[in-house]
Amino acid sequence: MKTAVIVFPGSNCDRDMAVALEQVTGKAPAMVWHRETALPDRTDFIALPGGFSYGDYLRSGAMAARSPILRAVSDAAGRGVPVLGVCNGFQVLTEAQLLPGALMRNAGLNFVCRTVPLTVENSQSLFTASYNAGETIDIPVAHHDGNYFADAETLDRIEGEGRVAFRYADGVNGSARDIAGVLNDAGNVLGMMPHPERAIDRAHGGTDGLRLFEAALGVLA
């Protein structure tokens, strides 16, 4: 099992993500700098971490989505390699058009930083197979631009295809239909604003995030 964490200038959850991946796989991930043009050979799982890549210049995730390593990430995603984007990573995946929609400024304009309840909408994906559909889990959020937007047609399509992985149980940021996490059509790319890597140890106050990594990495182990 070889995992990789993509590191952009301004990433700040890359080490938390590395801890989560190492805890589950027993092996430290490769930390891959944004200027690289290739991933390590036989990378089985890619994580795009939270943070403020390129200082959120232009739009959150916009510059990172055009960085050299993203071409390699996009190619790997196309081959079916699982890609998890958390927070800024989710923004990067939408900007790179690996996921539909966009993440706009929170409806209340506030930075939201607290643990929130999520409803698991799809428990069949490789990332969510350890949850039960309809289950409520507690995962921290910390973002300013988490207000998910897509046109009504796109929202209907992704809902119909079971591509809404998680929904906020209570309104958090104004997201369309309270969407907190979205899968691509093949089901191997997940973007989510909440931080599962911040809920993997009892000392974090909860371990609901751990099961996401166990599902995604266990399937492949």
């Binding site: 232009l58 739009r59 916009a62 055009r66 939408t94 900007e95 539909p100 929609g101 966009a102 706009m104 400024r105 929170n106 409806a107 209340g108 304009l109 207000n147 937007f149 897509a150 104004g174």
Partner: protein
């Protein structure tokens, strides 16, 4: 050649920043404002022979996110 690019939110896309600016204007006593939409203005200094197609591609590929934004290019 100086080219101006105006990036604006598509109609129907909620604009929390525009709303906050609107409220602030009302707070300052400007009552006659019915709506505010905030966008982005970008100045490009490009070679004189830059084609319209290239300018359009710059906007579509980076300067605007066409999921939520429209753009307008103004060249001299």
């Amino acid at each position: 050649m100086k080219v101006n690019v105006y990036v604006t939110l598509k109609p129907g896309v909620l604009d929390p920043q525009g709303k906050a600016i609107h409220h602030a204007l009302e707070g300052l006593g400007f009552g006659g404002v019915s709506d505010v939409r905030a966008g982005r203005f970008i100045e490009l200094d490009v070679a004189d022979d830059t084609s319209d197609a290239d300018l359009d591609a710059m906007c579509a590929k980076l300067l605007a996110n066409t999921v939520i934004e429209n753009y307008r290019i103004e060249r001299p």
